[in-house]
């Protein structure tokens, strides 16, 4: 069967599988596939797409490809494919506290090459803290490079309000001909709060490598398969970023995985309020959807143990997934925290391996023999006890974050299929296509429009803000959002201290569903 209507591809690149779905103008799934992950992500994506083409999807009707990925967070967790970062502070008062002070020690050792502080930086009122001196920039960069820096993070005091110093440093580096030395300016990746912004900047600088490795050649290869739709990456707030932007600002995508799975799960179940338990191969993430949108945590979000000031979905993470290794200890079981991960097809007992995993336990209970596999020798009684323990661990975590016990709990993600029906109670649901909730969420990612400008709010504060909101909405419309679904998802006001007429940097983002119409 072939489809000849417009569709969007949603792709979730996870640790064990690349999931892909195609959705039509009604947001219905017309085809999906799960492809095991191998070394080269680009090839996995292309293989997954070819599988859909085999199912009758036609490349020419594809309007857009939305990629959701945990590549960024995984490379931070595993410390793989990262640039070593040289940190350049523009801070005339020379703070004692070194960068990355409160990071987990392994992360600091692997990511930070060295740091330098130069004169300059601004007071709240734009006065220089100390005189900026261009020759210090050269000296500092040379030192950082000698220490092994491959990517530079530049942080100036008060740069979200006064970009002058960071821009000058960037210009000096560009003019000095350091080749393609990647640089990240802090004002592009964070608001006020020096340490958190510095952390954002360093994370962004280090992540450029993994994005560069995996996505630089993707677009041309897709073109060869006749895909001419836009290639977009989902970002933390559930909206889309161009591939080009994502290569510059990978940190903006770092939490898009959970956002997609939360959104996808709720849309699959057609609910506006739910707790979502997404069981993957190595971990489980539990989040909350309220009034149709993920619940966010305050500014204190951490990424791989590193404090940042990003607004991220509020999540509980358990090291428990389909591939989690299960060990007997005295009279009970220890589940995880380690997982066979992408080696599920070699190391789990169902595939003649030595490790007992949650996947094997599920197979025993469901009496299910995977293709090219066997039924593990574990007894039903033991399997039952393990599964009960798994459900209890999940339920305890849910009880920790949510008081109302009547809210529906949605089980999604590939790992969810290991749980037999009889272990779930009346408020547990597994919506149709739960295995690909994440990719579905990516397909549904929204279009946004952002206004980031400096204005005098003055007497007519609300009037000015209303006008800027309208501008953001108009931009979202221009970017292809459907009018009736547009709303404001971010509103940040950074006042310039002691300036007249409430001079303020205003950042407003409007987002809405992507308009998809059949030709």
């Amino acid at each position: 069967m072939t489809y000849d209507k417009s569709y969007i591809l949603g792709i979730d690149i996870g640790g064990t599988h690349v999931d892909i779905v195609a959705i039509d103008t009604n947001e219905s799934i017309i085809a999906f596939h799960k492809e095991p992950v191998s070394e080269h992500i680009e090839n996995c994506i292309l293989r997954a797409i070819k599988q859909l083409l085999n199912k009758g999807i036609q490349a020419k009707h594809c309007k857009a490809i939305h990629l959701g990925t945990t590549l960024g967070i995984n490379s931070l967790l595993e410390l793989k494919s990262l640039y070593r970062v040289g940190v350049l502070r523009i801070a005339g008062h020379h703070p004692d506290l070194p960068p990355a002070f409160n990071w987990p020690i392994e992360k600091k050792k692997n990511i930070i090459a060295s740091f330098e502080t130069i004169n300059g930086g601004r007071e709240y009122n734009k006065n220089l803290i100390s005189e900026f001196n261009p020759s210090e920039v050269h000296g500092a960069i040379d030192k950082l490079l000698t220490q092994g820096a491959e990517s530079i993070a530049i942080i100036g005091v008060f740069s979200p309000l006064y970009s002058n110093d960071e821009d000058r440093v960037a210009q000096i580096i560009t003019d000095a001909g350091y080749g393609d030395l990647p640089i990240t300016l802090s004002r592009h990746v964070g608001g006020l709060g020096f340490i958190e912004r510095e952390n954002n900047t360093i994370i962004n600088a280090t992540l450029k490598k993994v994005f560069h490795n995996h996505f630089l050649d993707l677009e041309p290869k897709l073109k060869k398969l006749d895909f001419n739709g836009e290639v977009l990456i989902t970002q933390n707030n559930g909206t889309l970023l161009s591939l080009q932007q994502a290569l510059q600002f990978p940190i903006k995508t770092i939490s898009s995985g959970p956002t997609n799975s939360l959104n996808g799960a709720c849309k699959l179940a057609k609910l506006r309020q739910a707790i979502v338990i997404d069981i993957g191969g190595t971990s489980t993430e539990i989040g909350v959807i309220e009034d149709g949108f993920p619940r966010y945590s305050s500014s204190g979000a951490t990424i791989a143990g590193i404090p940042t000031n990003f607004m991220l979905p509020s999540l509980e993470v358990l090291a428990l997934g389909g591939g989690s290794i299960i060990r007997r200890q005295n009279n009970s079981y220890v589940i995880g925290p380690d997982s066979v991960g992408s080696q599920l097809y070699g190391e789990s007992q169902s595939f003649h391996g030595n490790q007992l995993t949650l996947f094997d336990v599920g197979n025993v209970l469901l009496n299910q023999i995977p293709e090219n596999g066997i039924l593990p020798s574990l007894s039903k009684t033991e399997a039952t006890r393990i599964m009960k323990q798994v459900i209890e661990q999940l339920q305890n975590k849910v009880n920790d974050i949510f008081i109302d016990d009547k809210v529906v709990i949605l089980f999604v993600g590939g790992g969810s299929q290991n749980i037999p029906d009889e272990y779930l109670n009346e408020i547990h649901q597994r919506p149709l296509h739960y295995q690909v909730a994440n990719a579905y969420g990516a397909a549904l990612a929204e279009v946004c429009g952002t206004v980031d400008a400096i204005h005098q709010l003055g007497e007519d504060r609300q009037g000015v803000i209303d006008k800027l909101e309208q501008e953001a909405i108009n931009q979202a419309l221009a970017n292809g959002a459907e009018i009736k679904s547009i709303r404001i998802i971010e509103k940040r006001l950074l006042p310039f201290y002691y300036m007249d007429n409430q001079l303020t940097r205003v950042i407003i983002t409007a987002a809405g569903k992507k308009l998809l119409i059949d030709e």
């Binding site: 801070a91 005339g92 008062h93 020379h94 703070p95 004692d96 506290l97 070194p98 002070f101 409160n102 930086g121 007071e123 709240y124 009122n125 006065n127 803290i129 100390s130 005091v157 008060f158 006020l192 709060g193 020096f194 340490i195 619940r295 966010y296 945590s297 305050s298 500014s299 204190g300 607004m311 509020s314 974050i401 008081i403 504060r461 971010e490 509103k491 940040r492 006001l493 006042p495 201290y497 002691y498 409430q502």
Partner: protein, 338 residues
């Protein structure tokens, strides 16, 4: 021996944030610097009023300025060095004991910088018992004790000594100097001898902060505990503030399906109204607590969209006495509201 150490520093910071009533800046501003100093210098010894000798010199310390500025132009371990050298010169034979001038917010941690660098003890007390926006809102000011000499220093190694014959000048002078220093300064004021402690201190503030901090690790238990009054809960739907005369002035709106709350602040949260009617305020301590984490949110950290509890805690008894209440009662305060 009571100490502040790497194990209880977090609880202490949380408790101090709570006592800050939204003001005083979030202790995380200093938390990392203190942890960094603890790596090299060890722990801080806390002594109680009964350990104080008659001629010990107690030096209350604070950072002054806008918390938003501390978080951007991060503090330096040398910011009190000049000031400390000057005090040592002035009082060469006295044992120096440090004290937070203000227990609420980041200033609970301020004296730890000097305490760690020079192995000085800290007194389990402060001048206020919470945080307030003005220097005259402290016990010795209410009791008309002298504030001389006062020292003000900055991050670039400058230090100024003030000798003022009118207490009212203190606030004005310190504020002006602080603005010149980039809206960020360190101050030592209301220095006193051990024998006069009664006129200066709210006793046990550090222990109180530690105690609240421990309880806050289980937010649901904390909000239903007897020291607290739950005013309501909801989602932050608007945050409006501006800097005016050195204060972060503003309000936030918190809504749920039935009620809408407005909390006014001038650095500190000073008044709560529910559906347009004032329900509580200063001198009681107001806390906005993130539901998920149990973190008290400071006024500069309020963000659109966070799910929170609003609660109040009774004021330290000193502030409810007939002589001090009029100075800090929200019903009488000339709140510059926005």
């Amino acid at each position: 021996m009571k100490t502040l150490n790497p194990t209880n520093l977090m609880a202490y910071s949380l408790g101090a944030t709570l006592l800050g009533s939204g003001g005083g800046g979030h202790p995380k501003i200093l938390y990392d610097l203190i942890s960094y100093l603890m790596d090299t210098h060890g722990i801080v010894k806390i002594i109680s009023i009964s350990d104080l000798k008659e001629d010990d010199l107690v030096v209350p310390l604070a950072m002054v300025g806008a918390p938003l500025i501390f978080s951007e132009k991060i503090p330096n371990a040398c910011m009190f060095d000049e000031l400390y050298t000057n005090i040592k010169k002035e009082y060469p034979h006295k044992r120096i004991v440090l004290m937070p001038a203000e227990i609420g917010g980041c200033n609970a941690l301020t004296p730890m910088i000097l305490a760690l660098k020079y192995s000085l003890p800290i007194l389990d007390a402060d001048l206020i018992g919470r945080a307030f926006p003005k220097i005259n809102m402290c016990k010795p000011a209410v009791l008309k004790r002298p504030c001389n000499p006062t020292y003000v220093s900055d991050l670039m190694g400058n230090s100024i000594r003030l000798d003022l014959n009118r207490l009212e000048l203190l606030e004005l002078m310190v504020r002006d100097i602080t603005v010149r220093f980039g809206s960020f300064s360190g101050i030592a004021t209301f220095l006193f001898d051990g024998k006069n402690a009664d006129d200066y201190v709210i006793e046990g503030s550090i222990s109180q902060a530690l105690e609240y901090g421990k309880q806050l690790s289980i937010p649901r238990d904390f909000i239903s505990s007897i020291q607290t009054t739950l005013i309501g809960d909801g989602v932050i739907t608007d945050v409006y503030h501006e800097m005016k005369n050195g204060f972060l002035l503003g309000h936030t709106i918190i809504k749920n399906n039935e009620n809408h709350y407005k909390i006014y602040y001038q650095n500190e949260y000073l008044k709560i109204s529910k559906n347009g009617v004032d329900v509580d305020g200063s001198p009681n301590i107001i806390a906005i607590i993130e539901k998920k984490t149990g973190q008290p949110l400071t006024s500069e950290a309020l963000v659109y969209g966070i799910d929170v509890y609003i609660l109040t805690i009774n004021a330290p008894p000193f502030w409810t006495s007939p002589s001090s209440l009029p100075i800090v009662n929200y019903k009488l305060l000339d709140l510059e509201t926005l």
